[in-house]
Symmetry: C6
Subunit: 71 residues, 6 copies
């Protein structure tokens, strides 16, 4: 994965920070499963499962702590 996708943890608004946390959470998945097709298929499944959605929100919460701490 040679592309540059993260150059700074500083964001202009808290909401942009939250959205960066979402990006970080998805990237954490993508490093393990880089196949976009597989990811789309899985997403359509876990997006209808309450436990999976809560788990996803938890990863976002952890990454948001990191982003918020760096402001």
């Amino acid at each position: 994965m040679a592309d540059i996708w993260l150059t700074s943890l500083i964001t202009e608004t808290p909401q942009e920070g939250f959205e960066l946390a979402i990006t970080l959470s998805r990237r954490g998945v993508k490093y393990t499963q880089p196949n976009t097709e597989v990811l789309h298929k899985l997403r359509s499944e876990y997006a209808e499962n309450a436990s999976d959605l809560t788990a996803a929100s938890q990863v976002v919460a952890i990454n948001f702590q990191t982003v918020a701490c760096c402001q």
Copy 2:
């Protein structure tokens, strides 16, 4: 999701901070599953499941750390 929903992490009281943590937790879910109808259906299910409720409370706890740290 072009709407602005988070402009500050500063709250006037700790309870407002806790309620902001709840908002952050729900938004973390909504970025993955934006369909309100699906969310309502899932909610009626996991709101009767002890493990799911504890998991939801955990996400709130993590987001509350972030909010509390920013005061």
Copy 3:
């Protein structure tokens, strides 16, 4: 939920801080499932399940970090 239940994170003793963490954990559940009757029924179930009890203790631990950090 218009009642005021959290006015400060400062406690007089560490144990009171721990007990506040328990309150925060239960409130995190109650915002999702406000029906007291349902909560009592679920509690009698998960209070006999080791995984659920450990998960509950984990939420308390996270909230206790927040309380301890604010002293």
Copy 4:
């Protein structure tokens, strides 16, 4: 639960801090399930389950962060 069990988070050695973290983790369970008999029965079960033991160790790790931060 009127007994006093936590008067300070300061410990003399790191190991005593780790053992305090274990106490905190068990207390987190006990506030939800105060019945000692039930707790002993559950313990004999989850002490033979790898996932449950890892989950227990995770709660200890979180509480140990709190204790270590307060030294």
Copy 5:
């Protein structure tokens, strides 16, 4: 495991920090299961499971907090 694989937590860019967090997460697994063949087999399984991928992303998020805090 006598090899030296971690000499510093300081990275030149946030993205390198995130990639170090991925390394830390994998090493955390490898200390428990050092057999590379077993790891490859397991990876091909959990890389197609949404819950496992989210859990992996969560470990990365926690390690990324550590790396980000050390910059």
Copy 6:
């Protein structure tokens, strides 16, 4: 458990810190299940289970935060 196994959280290198985090994670398990024979049997099982390995890596990540923060 009268033996002294933790006298300091300070390590000479980050890698030693990571290995201390592994020790802490295992000790967290051992306080709940001190029977070495049972632990060995469980280990051979969860070392071949992706979810269990990720969970183990997560406990290491949390303990590594504690160790890194104390340097």
